[in-house]
């Protein structure tokens, strides 16, 4: 009896299993399902947060407004370099032509990073502005300001 008890004791002490062996198999399955559900729930939450923070629409709005404000402050003869590495990378992920991300028509700047995207924002400075990709590094856009 003592030997059996000792064996039982050893089994319990040295049992490498995280969950103690249960005679009832459905309780263990229940815990596994519980863990899996928790992981799925947390994964969905994390994916939601990442998708919201890295959304193309957010980058379109950010750079459209930034470029419009820069042009508003600029004077003819200026050449402005804007680092748009994250936006260019996003456009590449969305399979868009990175040379056509920034378009300036009349006094409206339009940023397009995805197929069904496009964020226009106007500037009040009555000058002529042209934007093109700096093909030297593919990370910056160059905006040239000239008289109208």
């Amino acid at each position: 009896m003592n030997k059996i008890r000792g064996k039982e004791k050893n089994l319990r002490f040295f049992n490498p299993s995280l969950f103690p062996k249960s005679r009832k198999g459905d309780v263990l399955i229940g815990e596994v399902i519980f863990l899996v559900l928790n992981l799925v729930f947390l994964s969905i939450l994390i994916i939601f947060v990442i998708s919201k923070t890295n959304d193309a629409s957010l980058l379109e709005e950010k750079y459209a407004k930034q470029i419009a404000l820069v042009i508003d402050s600029a004077k003819p003869g200026m050449t402005i370099h804007i680092n748009m590495e994250d936006a260019i990378k996003k456009a590449q992920d969305e399979k868009q032509d990175i040379k056509g991300i920034v378009k300036i028509n009349d006094n409206i700047v339009t940023l397009k990073l995805k197929e069904k995207g496009g964020y226009p924002y106007s500037f009040f400075n009555d000058i002529s502005a042209n934007a093109y990709l700096d093909t030297g590094n593919n990370k910056e856009y160059v905006i040239v300001i000239t008289e109208k």
Binding site: G30, K52, K65, S73, N107, P120, Y121
Partner: protein
């Protein structure tokens, strides 16, 4: 002694599981709310835009503290204000107010006597001016700048530049 009431673990574990998921749901709802409120609102750049507009107008009417020729002293300056100061108040589609999203006003007065001169200029959507005394995220944003100028005859002027930017649909 034999008839012990044994409280089953399964019942209490189920209760804990329900509480656990309820807490998880509360935390998830809080995170979703925080993320949507932070990233759901657009960037509001109207304050900066109004400031830049006021600076551009100031640069147009003055240089180095002196009144620029053909500006405030010129009676035809009012008619060609936008052209001379290189301003374009046209905006993209999507704004409800067809009268425009900008308003600019320049009021000059004699610095010594505080009497207004006849060089007042205003351009844009006049309705926006009435919102300057009110506060609200969906209301137009106003900026006032006061500058001190001297003309060629060494007359001193105080100039108040008021600029208003609406564009609430894209900033609020």
């Amino acid at each position: 002694m034999k008839n012990k009431i044994i409280f089953g673990k399964r019942g209490s574990e189920t209760t804990i599981t329900i509480y656990w998921f309820a807490i998880l749901m509360i935390v998830a709802v809080a995170i979703v709310y925080m993320v949507t409120s932070a990233y759901g609102k657009p960037y509001d750049v109207r304050g900066i835009e109004a400031d830049i507009l006021a600076n551009n107008i100031a640069d147009c009417i003055s240089q180095g503290g002196y009144v620029n020729a053909n500006t405030l002293a010129d009676s035809s300056f009012k008619a060609k204000f936008l052209e001379q100061c290189k301003l374009n108040f046209k905006t993209e589609e999507g704004f409800a107010d067809a009268s425009g999203e900008y308003y600019a006003e320049v009021i000059s007065y004699d610095f010594d006597t505080n009497k207004r001169t006849n060089s007042d200029i205003s351009y844009g959507n006049l309705v926006l001016k009435q919102y300057c005394e009110l506060k609200g995220t969906t209301l137009p944003v106003c900026t006032r700048k006061n500058i001190y100028l001297i003309d060629e005859q060494q007359n001193k002027y105080g100039v108040t530049i008021l600029t208003v930017v609406n564009k609430a649909e894209k900033n609020a």
